[in-house]
Symmetry: C2
Subunit: 148 residues, 2 copies
DNA sequence: TGCAATTCAATTGCGCGCAATCGAAATATC
DNA sequence: GATATTTCGATTGCGCGCAATTGAATTGCA
């Protein structure tokens, strides 16, 4: 006897659980990131740039799994607020490298408390969170591998 | 000795794993849903409507964790293609109820193969998928509960 | 009964997210 | 060294996703 007869049951679908959890994260981050004046994707870009300055648009996109159509306008908004600087590479003029300004670098200090708040909201079980993170990474790899 | 000194490391973050897995799902679904002429959020709406016809916009939104600003235009696009019908409730004229057309109902048959393809891409481990789904649902609940 | 508060869908504005396309620049091929 | 191909970023168009607001309809309460 099958547990669920319907193969199209929303609440049994992994894709929807991922989708809904993603929105829940965005909602959770919203008030915290408002304090920094950042959106969630902008925050992700800073996570990358705080790790490594001077990346190309392409490298940043590869890191976040986003393309230039998303990243270019995002970076222009950050540049307009003097949080990053965009500069053509001297050697290869196709490349645009992204550098943090002092102001952009300074944001990092204000971001440090956010992961703590996430850990707290999740009940402090870092072990479970790490397991789930690893599972999701594998999920992403398998889905990407299945693209033809 | 701590494993990761940096609390802002992108690759250690659960939120990013969820975010990236969500996009990977969308990419995976894209060619399959193109065959039905649906986007992923539209597909989610049909999953709900195939389960229960005649829901209000509000009820549909509650089910998908989306608000009217997202759902209203989505439904209007579906109505323009004669896949659903929107009708004011007789008793309470604030409510708009969503009904499937025959065409919308017929889409279900074409969608049946999609979950199978997901299962296949994920290596057929339904057990692991169910565990992960449950973990993500709990994650969502905890994040939502932490919203002040 | 009358008026305030609430509920609901719709709308507006803005920021993603991605496909498709473009032009410039670099590389490969001959 | 000229030509074809590839790479990179920007741009356009469209569909979410959500905050904030609006207006109509309903409900609550005195």
């Amino acid at each position: 006897m099958a547990k669920t007869a319907d193969p199209l049951q929303l609440d049994s679908m992994l894709c929807f659980a991922v989708y809904a959890a993603g929105h829940a994260f965005t909602r959770f981050y919203k008030p915290r990131l408002d304090a920094l004046g950042l959106t969630y994707p902008q925050y992700l870009a800073f996570l990358v740039l705080w790790e490594q300055d001077g990346l190309t648009v392409k490298a940043l996109g590869d890191r976040l799994f986003l393309d230039s159509g998303t990243i270019t306008p995002l970076l222009k908004r950050l540049e307009a607020r003097a949080l990053v600087r965009r500069q053509r590479d001297d050697q290869d003029e196709r490349l645009v490298r992204i550098f943090l300004t002092d102001q952009g670098r300074a944001l990092r200090a204000q971001a440090l408390s956010i992961p703590l708040q996430v850990g707290e909201a999740l009940g402090g079980d870092a072990e479970a969170a790490a397991t789930m993170r690893a599972g999701l990474q594998q999920l992403r790899e398998r889905l990407d591998a299945a693209l033809e």
